[in-house]
């Protein structure tokens, strides 16, 4: 028992800290907002330290093989914690400026974090489902937490209902697979499926339902419809969180599913992923072109980037998954910086998110503009920035697998998608300057932006390093 508890120490720490902070919020009320935010940051730092200390430990399965703790889980959890930290750090300034600082925000974020960390460790359908619902419920609350904003409420309702639909699909998929294999834990399911020559109708249907639910979680077309509306409607600090952490968790869970119990069904799921990936890349590239709102644009950017990440899954094998993971981490790194910039966009005390509001920012805020430009160029895949290397490795593993047609198609969509990233750069540097944005000092935001931009630029110095880390991380799955 104690080994099991030790294995999930990071999750436990986070959950207990969330409860302690909740009590603090109960006692002190609104005044607890700042201490709770600080406490949340401390909790995350603590969890990061715990994860770092146990990173080298051998893999172990606990709670009757429901939960597995290996290098893959630990690496993704570390990434998750960093993403949560960035989201929390970025939330401080806007909540203070809008006078809406509430202790609940960090607490719910931490609870979402517990769910996400559970997702990447789950090795059992029930554990996966519970963890997934945990993060989803927390995110529903956050999305609709915009202070008396009708858009936020609308986004919340959409997210809840569509999320519930996706959950239902997934649950049904799990049920079908359970019916077919008689097991809920990954290891047994894999053993059973490996023993079957041709998977029957039940298995096929279960796979389709399960993948539909997962596609919703990672915003893959055609299950992405919620993304632009929720991104745009949710308060920007929540959109930041949505764009960063849940993608890591969902991708981790998906990797565990596809390269674990569903590995024997690769012949079935590869074509499905191809469809999802191609649809995501094309849809995002095309629909992003006419967006005027930065948050919506970032929603399409997410959709497209998840499409590219799926290419790594499609290529398969340790190399393919490592490429996908590397891609995901570069994406998260860049997007954190982009949202740091979006959160800096306020004029006369009002939040603005239209791209045109950035006009001529290079004149009034050269550093901010340069950072944003670097991130946009990286997202567009311009060498020698990180985004280029990420796309490069993904396309490379595809070509190594002989799927060059898919790689060429991906390349074409990046060309189209580059249009809207580079349009932002154009607006920053060549448009007639708009009124300067408000200058609000925010050290945390500057730090997130700096880390993001430096990371994106400095990867040039050691492009192999990130990929090597990803290779080590995915090793336990193979």
């Amino acid at each position: 028992m104690s080994t099991a508890l030790a294995a999930i120490a990071p999750e436990l720490t986070l959950a207990v800290m969330a409860l302690v902070l909740l009590l603090l919020a109960a006692v002190r009320g609104q005044a607890a907002a700042r201490p709770v935010l600080r406490g949340g940051a401390v909790a995350l730092a603590l969890v990061f330290a715990v994860l770092g200390a146990t990173a080298g430990a051998p893999a172990q399965s606990v709670f009757g093989d429901m939960v597995v703790v290996d290098v893959f889980a630990t690496a993704l959890k570390m990434a998750l914690v960093l993403a949560l930290m960035a989201a929390l750090a970025l939330s401080a300034a806007p909540m203070r400026l809008d006078n809406i600082a509430r202790p609940e925000y960090p607490i719910v974020t931490l609870l979402a974090g517990v769910g996400m960390m559970g997702m990447v460790s789950a090795q059992h359908f029930l554990a996966l489902y519970v963890a997934m619902e945990m993060q989803a419920l927390a995110l529903y609350i956050l999305v609709s937490s915009g202070a008396s904003s009708a858009r936020s409420a609308e986004a919340g309702v959409k997210y809840v209902l569509l999320g519930a639909l996706a959950s239902a699909l997934m649950l049904f998929g799990m049920a079908l697979l359970y019916g077919a294999t008689g097991a809920l834990d990954y290891v047994t399911i894999r053993t059973v499926l490996e023993g079957v020559d041709a998977p029957g109708l039940t298995v096929g249907a279960g796979l389709a339902f399960l993948l539909a639910g997962m596609a919703f979680k990672i915003s893959a077309t055609p299950f992405h419809m919620w993304t632009p509306d929720v991104y745009a409607g949710a308060p920007t600090r929540v959109t930041t969180l949505l764009a960063l952490a849940p993608k890591i968790a969902a991708a981790g869970a998906l990797a565990r599913l596809l390269f674990g119990p569903l590995e024997p069904l690769a012949a079935q799921w590869v074509p499905i992923l191809v469809v999802l990936s191609v649809a995501s890349m094309s849809w995002a590239a095309l629909a992003g072109v006419v967006q005027g709102d930065l948050k919506r644009l970032m929603a399409y950017s997410t959709i497209g980037n998840m499409g590219y990440m799926l290419l790594g899954f499609i290529a398969g094998g340790a190399d393919g998954l490592a490429a996908a993971l590397f891609y995901l981490l570069v994406y998260v790194l860049s997007v954190a910086g982009v949202f740091a910039v979006i959160l800096a966009m306020r004029r006369d005390g009002r939040v603005v998110t239209e791209i045109v509001e950035l006009s001529g920012l290079a004149r009034s805020r050269p550093l901010l503009a340069a950072g944003m430009a670097a991130l946009m160029l990286s997202l567009a895949g311009v060498p020698p920035l990180a985004g280029f290397f990420a796309k490069f490795v993904v396309f490379k593993v595809l070509i190594d697998q002989g799927m060059w047609l898919l790689a060429v198609y991906g390349l074409l969509t990046t060309v189209v998608a580059a249009y809207y990233y580079i349009k932002v750069v154009k607006v920053l540097y060549f448009d007639i300057p708009a009124e300067p944005l408000d200058r609000a000092p925010a050290r945390a935001r500057a730090a997130v932006l700096a880390v993001s931009v430096l990371g994106v630029v400095a990867l040039l110095l050691a492009p192999g390093l990130g990929l090597d880390v990803a290779r080590v991380a995915v090793a336990p799955l193979f």
């Binding site: 909740l22 009320g29 059973v192």
Partner: protein
């Protein structure tokens, strides 16, 4: 791939379904045949938590009503959870006991929070 032995363990479920279905048919059928039959609008309309079943969706209602209901459901479900636990406590031993203790503690913290934040005050 479905194991016949595995399916056999579901026999009680099948029996339960048959009994439940039979019971429903039996009750509705007998009341149709035997009971006096004097319908009026209130009696024939569907029962829907105290609201008229069909009306404009834009109607106003007091949101506090929902808040209390939601909070009630949480604790209601907790009870539903406690019953099977109590029945099985003898078998699951100390581990089961402490698991539920932790669960209740978490729930209590939530309860303390909603109380302190004033979610239970009507005014």
């Amino acid at each position: 791939m479905a194991d016949p032995a595995l399916l056999a363990t579901y026999l009680p479920v099948l029996i339960l379904l048959l009994i439940a279905g039979g019971m429903a048919v039996w009750m509705i059928g007998f009341s149709l045949v035997l009971a006096p039959h004097r319908p009026d609008p209130a009696k024939t309309s569907a029962y829907e938590c105290g609201f008229p079943a069909f009306e404009g969706t834009r109607g106003r209602f007091d949101v506090r009503f929902y808040l209390v209901t939601l909070l009630f459901i949480l604790f209601d479900l907790e009870i539903a959870f406690l019953f099977p636990w109590a029945v099985a406590l003898r078998d699951i031993g100390a581990f089961g006991f402490w698991s539920m203790a932790v669960f209740l503690a978490v729930l209590t913290i939530g309860f303390a929070y909603e109380w302190a934040r004033g979610a239970l005050e009507w005014e």
